[in-house]
Amino acid sequence: MSPVPLQAYLVVAGLLFAMGLFGVMTRRHAVAALLGIELMLNAANINLVAFSHYLSPNRAINTVLDGQVFVLMVIALAACEVAVGLAIILRLYRTMGVLNPDEASSMKW
């Protein structure tokens, strides 16, 4: 029996992504919807690291780390995304008094 197969990691990431999608679509609170986005980003990160680890020619010394560099970038961008997203939510609450993303619809007509 080989070590844990690549597909096992992909399945975990896929389920996590579906959970995040569910959270984004159904949450009534904007911050909770943001948490769903975090789940989806983490699922993508798991995929990147898993592919980088399993598809490199030599797994023992693991010389291909491009996927891990991608994940570093994604984490930095996730920090930016959370900072700006939360600031937008705070501003939305102060000016419109709503927290449900469905109710902030004054740009829609």
């Binding site: 029996m1 995040g20 789940l39 983490n42 980088s52 930095a76 959370v82 700006v84 600031a87 008094g97």
Partner: protein, 193 residues
């Protein structure tokens, strides 16, 4: 050896199962918790599980980064925002799920699509990456080398993105002097010290 398998394999499977279970449990808690604050704590559980997955995939630096940045900084920022909103409303904000049928349908469709894709694809090792043998086996040095040579431009652009998001978020979140800290139609009188 046990049942013809080396012990390390059992350890790896056990570690994978526990860490993956932790990740999925945390994810589930994040999307079904009825209040936002517990949802943040469930997200913390999920992020810890993901850090464990990185460790199993030889991402030693990423595990530390995940815990330091995601669990240590991003979650703290989210919790600060939740507390700030709670202070303004003065009541516990519920975060029930809405549009349940649509959400279940979309997430189920997505999960099915991904699972079918995973199990019908044929995988084979790639041959890209020409890293020098000097750093082979040392993850952190290898990542540093990649950041400073192959991925130099993304590395510098990340700092510009960080700068832009920092200034933008400061402008958006700043409370102007004289601005009502609460909502435009805050239900209760604010006891401002």
């Amino acid at each position: 050896m046990l049942f013809g398998l080396p012990y390390t394999n059992y350890v790896e499977y056990l570690a994978f199962l526990s860490v993956a279970g932790l990740t999925l449990l945390g994810g589930l808690g994040t999307i079904v918790a009825r209040r936002v604050f517990p949802a943040c704590l469930w997200l913390l559980v999920c992020l810890g599980g993901v850090a464990g997955l990185y460790a199993l995939l030889a991402g030693h630096l990423l595990m530390a980064v995940q815990i330091l940045v995601y669990a240590g900084a991003i979650t703290v920022l989210i919790i600060f925002a939740v507390m700030l909103l709670q202070r303004h409303t003065g009541r516990i904000i519920m975060a029930e799920n809405q549009h349940l049928i649509g959400g279940v349908l979309a997430a189920g469709f997505m999960a099915t699509l991904i699972l079918v894709g995973i199990f019908t694809t044929r995988y084979q090792p790639l041959a890209f990456g020409d890293t020098p043998a000097t750093f082979a086996g040392d993850n952190v040095k290898l990542i540093g080398h990649l950041l400073l040579t192959k991925y130099l431009l993304p590395f510098e652009v990340v700092s510009v993105v960080l700068l832009a998001s920092m200034i933008g978020a400061l402008v958006l979140a700043r409370q102007e002097p004289g601005e009502n800290p609460g909502a435009a139609e805050a239900p209760e009188a604010e006891s401002q010290p």
